[in-house]
Symmetry: C2
Subunit: 262 residues, 2 copies
DNA sequence: GAACCATAATGGTCGTACCTTTTTTCAAAA
DNA sequence: TTTTGAAAAAAGGTACGACCATTATGGTTC
């Protein structure tokens, strides 16, 4: 167990938040390393001079945040977890769901992100990485030619391609964001891969993109990427036809004019 | 209070998670509308056939997720909240914080993000929003001319400008990520604002950018934005001079050649 | 009508007892 | 000596009951 001596008694009225903040700060600042565990609930109770319920509530909040993992039994306790991007994704997904964010906006974001990533990947990716990307793209096409098509496997490969590309930027932030968006978006796009046309065109687009990346042609690569997203956008619109019909577009335009006139 | 009759007693062993899941499901499915409140803790205790501590732990987790808000006193209780983007950002920010990233990479990401956001903001922001942006930028310059400069206040205004710009894209995902980045890496910025040159040039860059946005000149706006980030990059490099000296650059280049040769 | 106080509703805290799960220990059996 | 298995210990999970703090409401008094 980690030796701790930097916790101070909590104020009443919001004790559990106080406790949670102190522990969180300790974790963020690295005073407790990932893998180590906090003192037991009963010990923390003593350290914070408070009831055990307060401690438990605080730990629950931290667990929810993904900062700790709680195991029971002897040698159990609260273990500091190396945070995974999945937590952030879950939170994003929840937000997207509750606020009814249309898929089109998610796609828009993905496209913009992808353009930057592609450019950087061309500039910084090693020859080996670029070849690997092309190989994986070809494998995707290969998979699609087979009679038994497993949609889960295909979409997984698509995801991997995106991640690989993001990693080639050499900047982990792109990878994380890509992961977060994919996880958050996954609730939407399962159905997409049911469409055979979408599947095949996605694959060919990937190989074309990978080829241009290998050749070091940013503009051509971006062109294929753009095509891909345009297709994605179109498929989504067809699925829920309520979006962006001609009339809706005109209405939006009128609203804009009104706003501008103010 | 919302009438509920769809909660079933919780299983032991992980009762609080069970409870949290049931309540979360009820909220997501819209069985309880935003603004309404859940039954009181003591009533839920009865509905779920469990102890009050279990209920409280479950509510803590939901509160942490941003799904509910808890008010005390008479007519208090757990109120269903419309989830805000800020909440989702916090989660990503936490992740970014735990994985410390060199400032240069953060800046690179921010710059790429900013370019997209600026382009979209010009296309979609209303006239009023654009004027508001310019006003706020001018206010920032104004603040800097005063003798008593409050760094906290200034960096806060800078943050607001970034958020405002992100909101003008009309796509909440940009706002999500902008907030997350700012929360996650705010620690870097604080020290930057100590440098008077950086402060003033940041402000003038903002007004120039805002002006070009208002005039609808994407390329010119992006130009100022680029300048800003170049300055930022330079300041950071000066602070920790270990980055990108001439020799380091040459070394990197040699490494690249080695890798490519493999 | 305004200020004030009593009351009730509700979340927040504390303490204790007991249950369940997991690890460790240690002694009996093979 | 090794294996096995029961008991003990450590830790989280649950239940209950009491009390505190905060807030809204309604009645009382001036």
């Amino acid at each position: 167990m980690a030796d701790v001596d930097f916790f101070i008694p909590a104020q009443v009225g919001r004790a559990s938040e106080d406790v949670a903040l102190q522990i969180e700060a300790a974790i963020i600042e690295g005073k407790i390393e990932p893998g180590k565990n906090l003192p037991s609930e009963r010990e923390l109770q003593g350290l914070f001079q408070t009831g055990r319920g307060v401690i438990r509530e605080a730990l629950r909040a931290l667990k929810q945040k993904g900062l700790i993992e709680v195991r029971k039994g002897a040698k159990g306790g609260a273990f500091v977890k190396q945070m995974e991007v999945a937590n952030a994704s879950e939170s994003l997904a929840l937000f997207l769901k509750q606020n009814h964010i249309p898929p089109g906006q998610v796609i828009e974001f993905r496209e913009s992100l992808d353009r930057t990533i592609t450019t950087l990947a061309i500039a910084r990716g090693t020859e080996a990485e670029k070849k690997g990307l092309l190989r994986k793209a070809l494998k995707l096409e290969e998979l699609l030619r087979q009679p038994t098509q497993d949609p889960a496997c295909i979409s997984e490969l698509d995801r991997e391609l995106n991640i690989d590309l993001a990693m080639m930027t050499g900047n982990p932030i792109f990878e994380w964001i890509m992961r977060a968006i994919q996880l958050g978006f996954s609730s939407y796009d399962y159905t997409l891969y049911d469409d055979p046309e979408y599947r095949t065109r996605t694959a060919t687009n990937w190989t074309e993109t990978a080829r241009e990346i290998l050749r070091g042609e940013p503009l051509r690569a971006l062109g294929f990427s753009t095509q891909h997203y345009a297709l994605l956008q179109k498929c989504i619109e067809e699925k829920n036809g309520d979006l962006l019909t001609g009339n809706a577009l005109l209405e939006m335009e009128e609203n804009r004019e009104q706003q501008t006139a103010e």
